[in-house]
Symmetry: D2
Subunit: 418 residues, 4 copies
Amino acid sequence: MNVSTWAVRKEDRLARFMRIRRQTLALCAGLSAEDLMVQSMPDASPGKWHLAHPTWFFEQFVLGRDPAYRAPNPEWHYQFNSYYESVGPMHARPKRGLLSRPSLDEVRDYRARIDEAVGELMERGVDDELAARIELGLQHEQQHQELMLTDIKHAFWCQPLHPVYREALPAESSAASLLMHFMQGREGVVEIGHDDSQRFAYDNETPRHHTWLSAHALAHRLVTNSEYLAFVRDGGYHDAGLWLSDGWATVQREGWQRPMYWQEDLASEFTLSGICALDPQAPVCHISYFEADAFARWAGARLPTEAEWEDAARGLQIAGNFQESQRFHPVAAPRGEGMLQMYGDVWEWTASPYVSYPGFKPLPGALGEYNGKFMNGQWVLRGGSCATPQDHIRASYRNFFPPHARWQFSGIRLGQDR
Amino acid sequence: MNVSTWAVRKEDRLARFMRIRRQTLALCAGLSAEDLMVQSMPDASPGKWHLAHPTWFFEQFVLGRDPAYRAPNPEWHYQFNSYYESVGPMHARPKRGLLSRPSLDEVRDYRARIDEAVGELMERGVDDELAARIELGLQHEQQHQELMLTDIKHAFWCQPLHPVYREALPAESSAASLLMHFMQGREGVVEIGHDDSQRFAYDNETPRHHTWLSAHALAHRLVTNSEYLAFVRDGGYHDAGLWLSDGWATVQREGWQRPMYWQEDLASEFTLSGICALDPQAPVCHISYFEADAFARWAGARLPTEAEWEDAARGLQIAGNFQESQRFHPVAAPRGEGMLQMYGDVWEWTASPYVSYPGFKPLPGALGEYNGKFMNGQWVLRGGSCATPQDHIRASYRNFFPPHARWQFSGIRLGQDR
Amino acid sequence: MNVSTWAVRKEDRLARFMRIRRQTLALCAGLSAEDLMVQSMPDASPGKWHLAHPTWFFEQFVLGRDPAYRAPNPEWHYQFNSYYESVGPMHARPKRGLLSRPSLDEVRDYRARIDEAVGELMERGVDDELAARIELGLQHEQQHQELMLTDIKHAFWCQPLHPVYREALPAESSAASLLMHFMQGREGVVEIGHDDSQRFAYDNETPRHHTWLSAHALAHRLVTNSEYLAFVRDGGYHDAGLWLSDGWATVQREGWQRPMYWQEDLASEFTLSGICALDPQAPVCHISYFEADAFARWAGARLPTEAEWEDAARGLQIAGNFQESQRFHPVAAPRGEGMLQMYGDVWEWTASPYVSYPGFKPLPGALGEYNGKFMNGQWVLRGGSCATPQDHIRASYRNFFPPHARWQFSGIRLGQDR
Amino acid sequence: MNVSTWAVRKEDRLARFMRIRRQTLALCAGLSAEDLMVQSMPDASPGKWHLAHPTWFFEQFVLGRDPAYRAPNPEWHYQFNSYYESVGPMHARPKRGLLSRPSLDEVRDYRARIDEAVGELMERGVDDELAARIELGLQHEQQHQELMLTDIKHAFWCQPLHPVYREALPAESSAASLLMHFMQGREGVVEIGHDDSQRFAYDNETPRHHTWLSAHALAHRLVTNSEYLAFVRDGGYHDAGLWLSDGWATVQREGWQRPMYWQEDLASEFTLSGICALDPQAPVCHISYFEADAFARWAGARLPTEAEWEDAARGLQIAGNFQESQRFHPVAAPRGEGMLQMYGDVWEWTASPYVSYPGFKPLPGALGEYNGKFMNGQWVLRGGSCATPQDHIRASYRNFFPPHARWQFSGIRLGQDR
């Protein structure tokens, strides 16, 4: 992890550390200790755990590098380790919702103590390796910010009272419907993967490498609720021929009839601001890979590959509807030229299984468990969402989820062979 | 439910109502909102739910009898109904741990409002039917007091930090070992079932009826930890011949090796006061029916029937180690004559499946769902435990749990054919 | 097992042995090796296994008593042991359908060899213990005859081609509808349990003992298809209030809408003679305990206890529609006085959980695993069915199945408190 | 499916049809109707089903093209359809083992009738489309030949008696150990996919397309039993760090300790010739993707991508240990130059998830369900095995199985980045 150059930023490193750590707490405003206890399914975690685990990460991988370091609460490590087998055994993931102890107040204190310790370390000065680990910890923290939002959304949806997380912002004047068109992509050998040694990237975005793009085109904007509704009304959930075999089995077993948070009336949906009317021009959201793939087939199209997506994103400005907008929900595409909504709003499912790039080397030691060991049975998503911090995303960023996962802010961009 | 006579008590009815309701809250002292959120298994419920559900019960069955009654939070009823199908649909039992809303504070307010409303009603005067329903509600509340204790014990045991609920009281000087002996019971036709129309009983304790007792004897005290340890050390958990077929399957599937809360060292156990040394003279506890039955077979004895137990309890004073002792753990038998430990310490598994008495009539309406519909696949337990309020138990009281249940304070008294 | 007196029979013992063993094979006429391979659910066994296992039983418990005995195929014992843990480990029950080896022909040879060996033994003369074991083996064989019929029925029902086992016999002129009436039973102390030391009984029918019967009456005939149809049409399967809690959960989980083999038209049913019109006067069949109990509640009645049933059966002739009729299906009650259809047609669910009688002693050794270890979670059925050999049944006979079991020929007789 | 050119072969089409169809039956020699009934797990099918289903395929897709065609047994189609949703509903896959009807004899007759009908059709002359469908049916038949062998192996392994399918052939003089070496592959743009319009290929092998190969090398032979044994002995199954996360979960859940058919002694294995000594020089076999991937990581290598494999196979002669050798088991690599064992012996797991090639078009209509709908959660295998007919395999052939599948003849070739 040669990240000596990460130090070269406009923002002061320590300020950045404190800003990101504070933002996590800011996202908890209005949530009670009880709200932050709920684990609504094995894939989700309680908010309190999202506060504690990245803190443990800093303790384990930053502070713990100093052999003289003494953890204030070593007995907590077992329950705040997520999946680092080489660090030690851990509490079973589906049972994180049972952890009433330590309390939320104790976890807040824990955060403060670790922040202070890391802050002191940074003020004393850190070597490149430590700087890199701190940066990794911050990126990791930001991932958990997004997960905290998607998990609390699911937790509130599972409750009969359907609580509101944040009051809805005033609606922007809804864009008139924009006809979708396809923009030609490059054919031939291209390079993808992380290319800027000045900036952070996860190991799974490296090494930069050649790949061949076939002739293709990508839709200039995301698929909207009204387009997806047409699929639903056309019987999309009842036509086996549109689905992958595993997808069809999931539709049958789970009784899927519409996107996850859509209400039965097909006119409203559950959001972090409660149940709201469905905006026909907004991107469809909380779609699994199976649904994205079936919709694309129904539409006579396909999903983009991750290389096609990344090549199309080359040179685009990273702007859009991110966590910072405080909307926590996708919005209609703005008027504009070129590829729209490539960043923000919703993660875009690609037709690429999540596997290693040629020549991939995981980080050494326990940090090597961060990404590489999940390279089975998942599909890549690109572009970030309305729950992603803007400075967390980049063209080479590879998110990944299993094909049935629906609780992330995930949607659809179409692609075509040419 | 002819309970006009229940009004005739020394204790003033309203004071009794307030005392029992307050006691439930008193049991929560020292537990946080987070502690009261945990649902550690589908059979258990969060503490907050135990606070809310009996309150709903008063609202539904007492206040709701007045057609003019307006519930302050009708939208809560769905999630605080337990299993009364005729009242309406309900939140799935295994998902009670997801309910962060209403908050603990709101639930406390809810309790206060309903207490006030019931209090006013009582002051205005209640008819017999209403008096009976209030009494049923209080008995129901007491049951949930006990469940709250057993559920929080399980919740704390499931957490890696093993919190302490209450500091242990100073140990009483442990009794010297008392040799177990058997006391002859009556043979012939006896009457069992509730017999005192002046006092409350559940419908399942009625009607009083004849039954035949074969020649038999019952042990004068409960089986102790040291006696059970001998069974463990003798390979009891590895000898299929000692177990019911379903019990053996459970032992294999669950990997049972010892009582639920015993530690691997066979010398200590988890209690509501944390991990403590095992008292050899104290009654063995947290035993399933399968284990009680296997132990009895190993010991060349059997479990008592519920009729044998009830006949033996006839005339005994209701005294022992109850909730009021604040020990929340069974203790060694006192020195004494006659049948010891019949009440309190641990519920005693009987050899009687939980079925209706001849001529049984459930309560009319939704209250009829209280007991009768559970008469399948469960076994009767008698005598109350260290978590039972003393004024809740009586000779005819029938508790019931499925044969694999271990998280109640349940233990063993032996019986014999003569 | 003092059965010396069993020798005193009109029928010669050896002839009886050969007759019963031959009858098992006769029931396989028309079934192919493939038909006899099918295991359609874990509770059922393949026909070939029903041929082999009782043969193993004779080998294990009769021939094996001679220390000099050498099994022809000791390597088969593992797979033909059912549940005798003390004899040795065994093949997993749900995987009996995988056993293509030994072949059906080899199993037939096995039967012939063991029959010859037992025959020789009997000709040389057997002591009381051995005579008793042979008799137990024959009773056991007869139980497997019945299971073979119910299991092949289920196996054929699971196949899309719905094969016919035996062509239907010409219908008897269907009886005109007989109004059900209730006949008063005895109140007071009675004796039940096996009482004839001259005749065989299982250990679970002993000892004969006193019990108290409350005032009651029993229906003079079984509940018919047309009566049960009224329950279905009245929404019986949609009214939670009629069901035990576990029963309602089963109805919901399994999607029960009608008796097991009834067709969706509610006018025909699958039988061992294929799909036939439902005879309105014939007893309803393939009913679980949950359904029998719900029906009784709907009808304002209850199920009989096993003691009530046995007392009513006292003195009745054992006659009815048994295996020997070759109908393999229940038929309408004949005209007649007194209690009708007490024997044959369908097993009658009772309100009695299957537990031991006071003073029960299982058989010594491995044979003690025959009955006692199943005394949990099951309900007693009485009277035998159209699949039971006539000489297998008696007033004290206790059959038992779990409350959800439907694939046996099981039906309903109503009882009442008086 | 433009396959007009497939007609141009040396072998007469009709003779080829008959030869392949007869070979399927030849593989059943020595198997009884009972053996051919066993379904030992949901992923496997009974041999009888493997005989019937490809026959149905000819009926459905070849004979059924003639509107005048009348199926002799239309009622069988439901149970012999595998997964063609657009053709109609089908019998549940995990319940194929329940189908005692039609009998094996009836299925053999069915095969004969359909063979005769197809033969007559071919003699009258078939158009290109029909010729292509017949060829597809034959390729499909060959796939089921291989599955029949792997399924019967599993079925026999599940039986306590471990039957022998075929007596082992005399061992060839075992090769001396050949040190594994790596051979450099090409770097740059290559073409892969089916390239010979004269010969059959599945739709998933098309279109031929460009792809980029990174610098790499492939092992010149397969991984042997002795090499895999070193991994086992080194604690490979106990080191989480070697495994994908899903793989480690599988190891834990399933208790994997060694390859599927290896005995506990690590010195013998179950084969189609019964339990045999493990040949140290023979390729390790019955390895899941998870195990192949973990072994490669342990060895400091990786698995080849399917493009690397296909490029390496370019120009190699298709020769090796196939079904025709009648060994039904992999053998040690022969001495020789260049890449060894690329064809036959064992399928080679690749590092490539099974997804569509750029520009992929499934076959039209129901035949489009053949391949495309399975493109999720599976990995590509290449090269064929000892159970594959030699004329069935080619360089572009893509087999695919989920990562936990072990019952195929699947093994490991290593690759490296260069």
